[in-house]
Symmetry: C2
Subunit: 207 residues, 2 copies
Amino acid sequence: MTSTFTVLPVPLDHLFSPGDDINSIVIEALSTTRWPDESTGISDGDIIVVTSKVVAKAEGRVVEAASRESVIDQQAERIVAVKHTPRGVTKIVQTSHGLVLAAAGVDASNTEQGTVVLLPVDSDASARQLRDHVIDRTGVAVGVIITDTMGRPWRLGVTDVAIGSSGVHVLDDYTGRHDDFGNTLEMTVVAIADEIASAVDLATGKL
Amino acid sequence: MTSTFTVLPVPLDHLFSPGDDINSIVIEALSTTRWPDESTGISDGDIIVVTSKVVAKAEGRVVEAASRESVIDQQAERIVAVKHTPRGVTKIVQTSHGLVLAAAGVDASNTEQGTVVLLPVDSDASARQLRDHVIDRTGVAVGVIITDTMGRPWRLGVTDVAIGSSGVHVLDDYTGRHDDFGNTLEMTVVAIADEIASAVDLATGKL
């Protein structure tokens, strides 16, 4: 099964603050989309991908940078690795969400100077809430993915991955299926939602 | 900077064997492409993504499955981790290419039963060779990425990543650049080529 798809960046043109109505902002932005085939808006099966940064800001997950280290320790259920560098201490931790990542996802970019942004409390719930709203307002059966940016052991560079979703098949399990040669696939479970997050990052960029 | 892009699967409809002329097979397949905007063929800036499986087969990197364990040991420059499971021994190794992955990338799927496929000897060289051929034959300035499928520590599921490329900016380094709030980005180097590999895997699937 192969299928063509298009990734379309949707500029929100909005600096998010605690209390912002992300639902309305996304709905309004979606109405402006224009696809390569000249169609507009959204269609059944489309997936709306939103960074955890804007979701977290709208949910008020912004704190003073001075509290960064203590916030990371609060967010960490388990310390996986600690590295001392000339620029400070980097901690790889496991969060209450089950994510393993640097600094518990606490991030100082794309936020007011002197502040840092935490991850959303429950990105699956945030995705579900946005999805329900879009379906309710438009009648279009979309999925929603909320992303964060992570490094990978043994690979250079960061990629975007899914940390929350609703209405999306996040893992595609091929185990037990057969290839054209009659071999049974034994290990192949594809991280669809992570691949979608990465695809969208290509279209949007970091700035 | 944001930009829309489309991923278009290009069926090769060919079972690759040692000695196959992958250049001609790819060129012929590319001529059949039809994009959502009704344009056809390839354009400057397009990126051709090919799995390492077909490249390796065309290059004759197929061996008897009985030699699998000894081949993995030959391909491994360093053993990173070994795990004994009910299904056998899984080794995470570093290959001569510098890749760290399970079983040195030696794979038993999508190949004749009783055989396994190694990684290409030099995927950058394979990518360069294909790119040079496409540019020579068509005059279109494409890039080429050769992919493999890998698991990730701490994440469920596998994703496709780039193990070779030519004419592609594989890492996008944001360090030293500033966001809208005047913060200097200090850590952000995006693995563009890996994100492209993942995007294409969504369109093609594993079977």
